[in-house]
């Protein structure tokens, strides 16, 4: 059954702040930069914004939650931008990831709760060692992991990828193809942290281990900055500065798990399918209709799991599917055309959405996929949580 909201809401503006490792400005100031840029891009004024949504989660436990410095909440943006005097709706969510905040905005527009929605994702890059465990008493589930030195999400991803390699016969040679392809795309993306830094396969194999079998370049690059989007209805979108990108469908990961203790690879297909099946059924489109795929890559293997769970290839086939130029810009399914989180920067999926909009509105410049008509953006890891959008050129 197709979704009645298909093509009725749009993304009409994109704004990037500077993305850097150690900015001079506060995260709050960067976020206001991104919001103003998104409004400017749409050709709207701040006073027209009467809806707000974000997913403000800190990048890891212990990274801090000081508003305007380490996170940027709805409250912060309301207080620091001259928005509509009577804001009609907002949402600050904790589940999904950033596509879920966009989904909230879409539903608010469909419900006529508001007219113009600003959605942003601000990411803080704490000083000190990224992801360091703080505190010597491990509460909750962590008490069964931290005493063994297993506290970081990348250690879980490392174990999942180890298992994948064992099960299907993949190697790091296969993964190198994906990581270097992403970097080639980032080298065409002026917003990317690694815009001017190329990467060869030799560079990839020379990188230090983080948690074997994952090396430094299998991990996304933490940045501090913000990306913002402006959403409105299809009717209101027609007179704005750029052609609108239509929201054709959405999905969230709704799989049930008995244990959240670990990243077992065993349920990634059904878990990811719980999201992807809704993407395809709501939009009436399928993987074969996608001109490109922007698939979450907080750690490089996640994109491979998504290729399988979303049906771009069969289970256990992604590591072969990505070879031979198939996912390059000129290939049959360009993947992470902007460089992904690995090479653009860690924005928890917001870059994936922004790029999908760029592609279907012919604004991706040197990395433009010709006549891109439909692109999907999916965030999260299929075995955990996440959300996604199908974004199209036509309603």
């Amino acid at each position: 059954m197709s979704w009645q909201g298909k093509g009725k809401t749009t993304i009409v503006g994109i704004g990037y702040s500077e993305l850097s490792r150690r900015p001079q400005k506060s995260l709050g100031a960067l976020s206001l930069d991104a919001c103003r840029a998104a409004l400017d891009d749409a050709g709207l004024s701040a006073e027209q914004v009467d809806g707000l949504a974000t997913f403000p989660e800190a990048p890891f436990h212990g990274a801090g939650t000081q508003d305007g410095e380490q996170i940027v909440s709805v409250e912060y943006v309301m207080n620091h931008l001259p928005l509509a005097p009577d804001i009609r709706w907002y949402a600050q969510i904790e589940t999904g990831l950033i596509a879920s905040a966009v989904i909230e905005g879409v539903n608010a527009l469909l419900a006529e709760a508001c007219e113009y929605v600003l959605v942003w994702r601000a990411l803080h890059n704490p000083r000190g060692r990224y992801g360091a465990w703080s505190g010597n008493r491990a509460p909750g589930d962590a008490q069964f992991m931290a005493p063994y030195g297993c506290t970081s999400i990348f250690q879980w991803h490392a174990m999942a990828w180890q298992r994948y390699m064992h099960r299907y016969g993949a190697t790091r040679e296969h993964l190198a193809t994906f990581v270097t392809n992403s970097r080639r795309n980032a080298n065409l993306n002026p917003n990317a942290y690694f815009y001017t830094t190329p990467m060869t396969r030799e560079d990839y194999f020379a990188a230090r281990w983080i948690a074997e079998p994952l090396c430094l370049f299998d991990c996304d690059i933490p940045v501090e900055g913000c990306v913002a989007l402006v959403l409105t209805t299809a009717e209101r979108a027609v007179d704005l500065r750029h052609p609108p990108a239509y929201i054709a469908g959405y999905g969230q990961n709704t799989s049930r798990r008995r244990a959240l203790f670990h990243y077992s690879l065993d349920n990634y297909m059904e878990s990811g399918h719980s999201l992807a099946s809704k993407l395809w059924s709501s939009s009436g489109l399928g993987p074969q209709d996608m001109s490109a795929a922007e698939l979450y890559d907080g750690f490089s293997p996640s994109t491979l799991y998504w290729l399988e769970a979303a049906g771009f290839c069969g289970q256990g086939e992604a590591y072969r599917f990505i070879q031979d130029g198939r996912i390059a810009l000129e290939g049959e399914l360009p993947v992470n055309t902007f460089g992904g989180s690995l090479s653009e920067g860690r924005l928890h999926g917001m870059g994936h959405i922004a790029e999908s909009v760029m592609q279907v509105t012919d604004r991706a410049e040197k990395r433009q996929v010709p006549n891109a008509s439909a692109v999907c953006a999916i965030d999260g890891s299929p075995m955990l949580r996440g959300s996604g959008l199908v974004i199209t050129r036509e309603p």
Partner: protein, 139 residues
């Protein structure tokens, strides 16, 4: 080794106390549902499988297989600096699919570790208050 004393310790709570108290006695116990017999780990107040609250701890064999492993190179966790790089294994206990415990694998070369390898529990007395169940390869 000075830094080993800085390693994180469990913040034991009412749900997890039976697990750690048994470990002090060098016994491995896992919370089990008395209605559907599902093992829940980490312990829960409601069964993950059937949502019953009739949960008690039962001894398990302490035997399992290596479901996966990784080698940690980052000094992210206090007290582990001297041991870098160190091995983490995810042990699937023989009692139930996907019943996992995390462990280190000490004094083992990286090349000796393989998925599917057989392991058994042993108990490392950290000090008077804490014993950690750990796993080693079965020869």
């Amino acid at each position: 080794m000075a830094t080993a004393r800085e390693k994180p310790r469990p913040l034991i709570d009412n749900l997890t106390r039976p697990f750690w108290e048994a470990a002090r006695e060098h016994r491995l116990v896992i919370q089990r549902c008395q209605d559907c017999r599902y093992f829940n780990h980490p312990p829960r107040s409601v069964c993950n499988a059937c949502h019953s609250a009739a949960l008690t701890f039962e001894p398990v064999s302490g035997r399992g297989t290596i479901y996966s492993f990784s080698v940690m190179y980052q000094p992210n966790v206090a007290g582990f600096g001297d041991e870098l790089p160190y091995l983490n294994i995810l042990v699937e206990l023989e009692e139930q699919p996907q019943l996992f415990l995390v462990s280190n694998l000490s004094e083992v070369q990286r090349e000796q570790v393989r998925i599917g390898g057989q392991v058994e529990v042993y108990f490392e007395d950290v000090d008077a208050e804490l014993t950690l169940p750990k796993f080693r390869l079965i020869a």
